[in-house]
């Protein structure tokens, strides 16, 4: 597995707190036995609503519909992003759309760990920094943003900002150990020893 340190590209700013995974990927698109093609349905209902308004002259189209952000690599979000359902379909679809990192105020735990398992770092930045970034990128979508996990810095144009990530998670990206399965399978005897000590496994 390859290590992840620098992520560079344009960004896609998405305003709002507590954006849940039902909104990121409505349940009707979970009716499938693979993840393929999911990216086409990201924010489908939110997009339809915002785009219809924009068409009638009210507000802007949804950022996920806006061609200016079509090739974005970095997603910028608010607080409690990815709350609600544990559906991995949400981060899977974001990843399949080409997004390779998320910067936000905070994340739901399940969304965060699902994203780690895909190699999609979810880093944190302060509210102020997020507001600045969002405004700057909304007015200049071609701004190149770079995230460095080794330096814990985010660069946007000439500005540099501090970002954070739990040290263990950061280490696992930097060393290429973010997919846990290999590690979990490494010591089968240790697993067996724990199982044998558990009364409910042995039948009391």
């Amino acid at each position: 597995m390859s290590n992840i340190d620098r992520i560079t590209g344009t960004a896609l700013p998405l305003r709002g707190d507590s954006i849940d995974t039902d909104r990121i990927m409505p349940a009707r698109f979970l009716r499938a036995i693979t993840f393929s093609g999911l990216e086409a349905h990201l924010f489908e209902d939110d997009r339809r609503e915002a785009d219809a308004r924009a068409a009638s002259g009210e507000g802007k189209p949804h950022p996920f519909s806006d061609p200016a952000f079509a090739n974005a690599t970095i997603l910028i979000v608010g607080a409690n992003f990815g709350c609600g359902s544990s559906r991995e379909h949400a981060p899977q679809a974001l990843f399949r759309r080409g997004l390779r990192a998320i910067v936000g105020d905070s994340y739901s735990e399940i969304f965060f760990s699902n994203s780690v398992a895909l190699g999609l770092p979810c880093v944190r930045a302060s509210r102020d920094v997020l507001e600045k970034l969002t405004t700057a990128i909304e007015s200049e979508p071609s701004t190149i943003v770079e995230i460095s996990l080794s330096e814990m810095q985010l660069t946007a144009g000439r500005e540099r900002h501090a970002i954070s990530l739990p040290p263990g998670t950061r280490e696992s990206f930097l060393t290429g150990h973010w997919d846990a399965t290999g590690l979990l399978l490494r010591e089968p005897e240790a697993i067996a020893r724990v199982a044998e000590r558990l009364p409910y496994v042995t039948g009391f």
């Binding site: 409690n80 739901s108 699902n114 496994v201 009391f204």
Partner: protein, 467 residues
């Protein structure tokens, strides 16, 4: 040193500490359903791995099952495909599947406890965020994503960060017409939808001690709506009595030994908590959500707040909620007309929930403007309810009586809202689009309150319907 149940269970299941500081945790029970597992089985196949402990893995089908006509093949071809994939995967790996033919099918978080699979002191994982439900038995139960489902299938382990513990004591006794659902809605209202991130919630206090296992499950179920991935109650006599005689519970001498072990896991007096919150039962009333997340709720006799009344970080989300719902700040929630009444879901579709709702419904008629349905949590519950004649009570009042499944909780089958319909729902999420219509609106409340709304055709205080 005195410790919490979380610490004891965590330590008993720790395989080792991984290089990144996470714990490799043995998972005692893995529950599988049709939506989040097929991709995990595919990943296993790609890497040539087998399921490590099929004996500790159980499956059922719940999210996509039709609740009206359940004959196979399903009319809905995609649903048929998903169930067929689950059947194939279970057969290939020797996993027991509670499908429609078994009489034991139902919502995964309902059947685990009902069959006695869920027991105190276990670590439990399932590819579903409401796995926290099982914590009502003093288990540590996590919702996980599909890659982690793969991890558990392959290794029977998860890599997890240790959680902090917040003790939530609910003191006193609940008033009449106030239910476990109101307690958890109040907790989420006070602590916020992300207040629990990083925490396990330990629920206790006189009100929780007095609760049945069904009620405790309702509370633990919605921990995740408050941001807490794990919620639990210390196991006690109520828990042990519930488990005795269940199909997968230990029997005879083993049960007595189990009971001793279970009791030893309770949080010790003097255990230290990372946070402590007390809520007085007397302050809790029948509660209704008015917004687009489960923290946006008011007492049924209160008014919908205006953005100037809430903290600055909640203003934008409140404004968005009012706009989506088409509600006016300052308006009372009571009297809001409803189009659909849904009694179902892993939060509130157990036998006791149906009994409470039936008490309200008995001898009354569903309002002419309301489409009302009852979807029992499992086939076992459905059958038990029919034996008591509850189906007749609901049918005579004008409710539809359906087969078991998730149904309109997330609308992956044919049961869904149309257009901007407003649904009084006993489920757990009022997110935009959750009940199948992108513009549909959900008001979360207790099953008795849903029953009352169905009769009145609008949100009413259930206490007014007690004779």
């Amino acid at each position: 040193m005195p410790s919490t149940l979380l610490q004891k269970v965590w330590d008993a299941h720790t395989v080792r500490v991984l290089p990144d500081g996470q714990t490799q945790l043995f998972i005692g029970l893995h529950l599988v359903h049709e939506v989040t597992s097929p991709q995990a089985f595919d990943m296993l196949r790609t890497r040539g791995w087998r399921v490590s402990r099929p004996d500790r893995t159980f499956a059922t089908v719940d999210h996509i099952v039709p609740t009206r006509d359940q004959r196979r093949p399903f009319g809905d071809l995609m649903a048929e495909d998903m169930l067929a994939a689950l059947e194939r995967n279970c057969r290939e790996h020797g996993i027991e599947l509670f499908d429609l033919k078994t009489g034991r099918q139902g919502i995964v978080h309902v059947i685990g406890p009902e069959l006695g699979l869920t027991q105190p002191g276990m670590t439990i994982a399932c590819g579903d965020s409401h796995t926290s439900t099982h914590g009502a038995f003093g288990a540590i139960a996590f919702g996980i994503g599909t890659s982690q489902v793969r991890d558990v299938l392959a290794s029977q382990c998860l890599a997890m960060n240790r959680l902090k513990v917040r003790r939530i004591s609910v003191t006193g006794a609940l008033g009449r017409g106030v239910y476990a659902k109101d307690v958890i809605l109040e907790i989420i209202r006070r602590l916020g939808v992300q207040g629990g991130v990083g925490f396990a919630y330990e629920y206790g206090g006189a009100a929780v001690d007095a609760m049945t296992q069904d009620e405790r499950m309702t509370i633990c179920n919605m921990s995740i709506e408050g941001g807490a991935r794990v919620g639990y109650v210390n196991p006690d006599e109520t828990t042990f009595r519930y488990l005795e005689g269940r199909p997968f519970a230990p029997r005879g001498e083993a049960f007595d030994l189990a009971r001793q072990w279970w009791a030893s896991l309770r949080s010790d007096p003097g255990a230290s908590y990372d946070d402590d919150v007390t809520i007085e039962s007397e302050s809790i009333r029948p509660t209704v959500t008015f917004g687009i997340n489960p923290g946006q709720s008011v007492g049924v006799d209160e008014r919908i707040p205006s953005p100037s009344e809430v903290s600055p970080d909640q203003r934008a989300s409140l404004a968005e909620a009012l706009e989506f719902m088409g509600f006016t700040a300052g308006a009372p929630i009571a009297g809001t007309p409803v189009d659909v009444a849904f009694i179902g879901s892993c939060t509130n579709a157990r036998l006791s929930d149906l009994r409470e709702a039936a008490k309200i419904v008995a001898g009354r008629r569903v309002s002419g403007r309301v489409r009302a349905l009852v979807v029992p949590g499992s086939q076992t519950i459905r059958q038990a309810a029919e034996q008591e004649g509850l189906d007749r009570v609901f049918r005579e009042a004008g409710f539809e009586w359906r087969g078991a499944g998730c149904s309109m909780c997330l609308a992956m089958n044919q049961d869904r809202l149309d257009g901007r319909e407003i649904c009084a729902s006993s489920s757990n999420r009022n997110f935009k689009g959750r009940q199948g219509s992108p513009t549909g609106r959900t008001l979360l409340m207790s099953p008795a309150m849903v029953a009352a709304a169905a009769i009145a055709g609008e949100v009413v205080d259930v206490r007014r319907l007690f004779s």
